[in-house]
């Protein structure tokens, strides 16, 4: 095993995990909403970008923004339907509703785009960079840069702007925020749209690594759980750290022990942490 290569792999995997998870972290922090359709949104975004490339013939760099836009609009629609339950903070029902949505997306994607694995190709995926034994692709560099940019911007917006203050006040106490004239419903919709758009960006950057299938959402979501819970509910910085930590863990575990059981091992880490700290590592 080449340690330096595995560390690079960990960094690449980790930036993907963090990028896919960030929307959910924000959603969970601001609206306490658990979106079990997250993995299916990822799958849907990958298929939309793929369809834009193969059926409309646009380039990869146009297809990904299209997917982000479509998912953002879908976010408005979904949150509009769930708004009553969100305002009631009926979290149990919401959780089940999102499971239902995810199942609809999976069936819908399979009937719209077919049940076979498709290749969603980024032109940067085959552009390698080599330093002696170590190699990575320009796609990996792009993913890492986008992740860091998004996290940096998000941190600034949440902590240094009036908009961020609105989101944080709704997260803290929605009723009190409404008494002060903040439209919590709009904040919830905004946060949900951000989640959908962010996961679409994540899918656009990460999904080209492997063939896409209508069922990939199921597997994808588990690493997101681990990142969100380990990083601490709603903690932006925590998610980034948890994402990179999990990426390193996955890369090293896959190389040293067994690639087939990496998800199980990551889950075991989650269980150990939860047994010790039921609300995650980075609780505020």
């Amino acid at each position: 095993m080449n340690l330096a290569q595995q560390l690079i792999n960990g960094l690449v995997l980790g930036s993907g995990y963090a990028l896919i998870a960030i929307g959910w972290t924000v959603l969970l922090g601001a609206a306490r909403l658990v979106n079990f359709a997250h993995g299916q949104l990822y799958m849907l975004a990958a298929f939309i970008a793929w369809a834009a490339m193969t059926r409309l013939g646009v380039s990869y760099f146009v297809a990904v923004p299209i997917a982000v836009l479509v998912l953002g609009l879908l976010g408005v629609l979904l949150q509009g339907m769930m708004l009553r339950l969100v305002m009631q903070q009926n979290l149990t029902s919401l959780m089940i509703v999102t499971l239902g949505f995810g199942y609809v997306f999976q069936g819908g994607a399979a009937s719209l785009f077919g049940g076979d694995p498709e290749r969603f190709i980024s032109p940067l995926q085959n552009a390698n960079i080599r330093f002696g034994e170590i190699w990575f692709t320009w796609q990996d560099v792009l993913t890492l840069v986008c992740t860091l940019l998004l996290f940096g911007t998000l941190w600034l917006v949440l902590n240094r702007t009036r908009l961020g203050a609105l989101v944080r006040s709704v997260a803290e106490d929605p009723k009190l925020a409404q008494l002060f004239g903040i439209d919590a419903a709009r904040v919830y919709i905004g946060v949900f749209v951000f989640e959908c758009a962010a996961v679409a960006l994540g899918a656009g950057l990460v999904a080209p690594r492997s063939p896409i299938l209508a069922s990939i959402g199921f597997d994808e979501v588990i690493m997101t759980f681990v990142v969100v819970v380990l990083g601490g509910i709603g903690s932006v910085g925590g998610s980034l750290l948890a994402g990179f930590g999990l990426g390193m863990f996955t890369a090293l575990f896959g190389a040293l022990v067994s690639p087939a059981y990496t998800t199980a091992a990551a889950f075991l880490v989650l269980l150990v942490v939860l047994a010790a700290r039921p609300r995650g590592l980075g609780t505020r």
Partner: protein, 330 residues
């Protein structure tokens, strides 16, 4: 009238025994009825958690699969009979539920759901990769179910043979749920869900109640999986598919939570749609997911809520009263 509701429900369920023969006795009818009974029993396991603890367990596919794997592995490799494999299914699910229950003891709400969901995904990965459990091929060639009772041997392989057994399992489950609702554990669970502070003041240990209900619910789903293994004569990692998870949740919420016959009627509606009015596998997924989401978004109390609206037309103009969704507001 109210005190007659439960016996009436049980008699109604008992009469379901004659449904396949009255409906003509075609193989497809027996298959549908047997499947409904099996999947309804599976749903009753998750119902115990959702209706009485107010939590969403997404890990009951583990117990469902544990029952199926225990039955098929022991029947295929060790020639165990039906009673023995059923006992093994119960033991296996109790052990798994105790472990998962201890791990999730301090988690609540979405963290509980996340961890149980993640546990199910990991269990699927283990079943898929571990050759001891048959790996991705699963376990094939499960022999016909053998159940000897008072010297009378019952052997069942086809759906017509399995139907009496599935029906009996369903009736046992209903009686068990009925007993649970009036047991000390069942009432404590409801109290912990509705008013944790009051429960604590009365000396109810909320964690112990949650753990016990969780462990109690597991063998129900496991026995459903046990019979499913004999019905299909095959068990594989597909028992962890989200289909079963979405099906149990939909079956529980579609008619209304905390109703004795709710999950049974819900399962019957879903399987009837998929058997007789199917629009293809992907289309059925869309229907099932849409029903699940739409019920909770439009009529959070389930279809029974519609009945209330119809019965008292003017009452629907009032704002919904507090008990409409007591589980959710904490």
């Amino acid at each position: 009238m109210k005190h007659l509701a439960t016996p009436a429900a049980l008699i109604l369920a008992a009469l379901a025994y004659f449904v396949p023969s009255v409906a003509g006795g075609a193989p497809v009818v027996y298959a549908a009825c047997t499947t409904i009974a099996i999947l309804a029993v599976m749903a009753y396991g998750a119902d115990l958690i959702l209706s009485y603890l107010g939590e969403v367990s997404l890990g009951h596919t583990i117990f469902w699969a544990a029952g199926g794997y225990a039955a098929s592995m022991l029947a295929v490799n060790a020639d165990w009979n039906g009673w023995q494999t059923a006992a093994a299914a119960i033991v296996a699910s109790l052990v798994l539920a105790a472990v998962l229950g201890l791990v999730t003891l301090r988690t609540r709400e979405f963290v509980f759901s996340l961890v149980t969901y993640a546990a199910a995904v990991v269990a699927m990965e283990v079943a898929f990769n571990w050759s001891f459990l048959g790996g991705s091929d699963g376990i094939v060639g499960v022999p016909p179910l053998e159940l000897a009772l008072f010297g009378h041997g019952i052997t069942g392989s086809g759906n017509a043979d399995l139907w009496p057994i599935a029906w009996a399992l369903l009736m046992l489950t209903l009686l068990f749920i009925q007993r649970f609702r009036h047991s000390r554990l069942g009432t404590s669970a409801l109290m912990v869900q509705m008013n944790p502070d009051l429960a604590q003041a009365l000396g109810v240990d909320a964690r112990a109640v949650r753990f016990l209900v969780f462990v109690t619910s597991a063998p129900i789903s496991a026995l459903a999986g046990w019979l499913y293994a004999y019905q299909r004569a095959y068990v594989g990692p597909d028992m962890f598919e989200s289909y079963f998870l979405v099906l149990m949740l939909t079956a529980i919420v579609v008619v209304g939570r905390r109703l004795l016959l709710g999950p049974l009627i819900g399962t019957a509606l879903i399987i009837a749609q998929q058997t007789f009015f199917s629009i293809g596998g992907d289309g059925d997924k869309i229907i099932l997911g849409t029903v699940l989401a739409a019920i909770l978004l439009l009529w959070p109390r389930g279809l029974i809520g519609l009945w209330d609206v119809l019965r008292r037309p003017r009452a629907s103009a009032r704002p919904p009263t507090a008990p409409a969704a007591p589980a959710a507001r904490r």
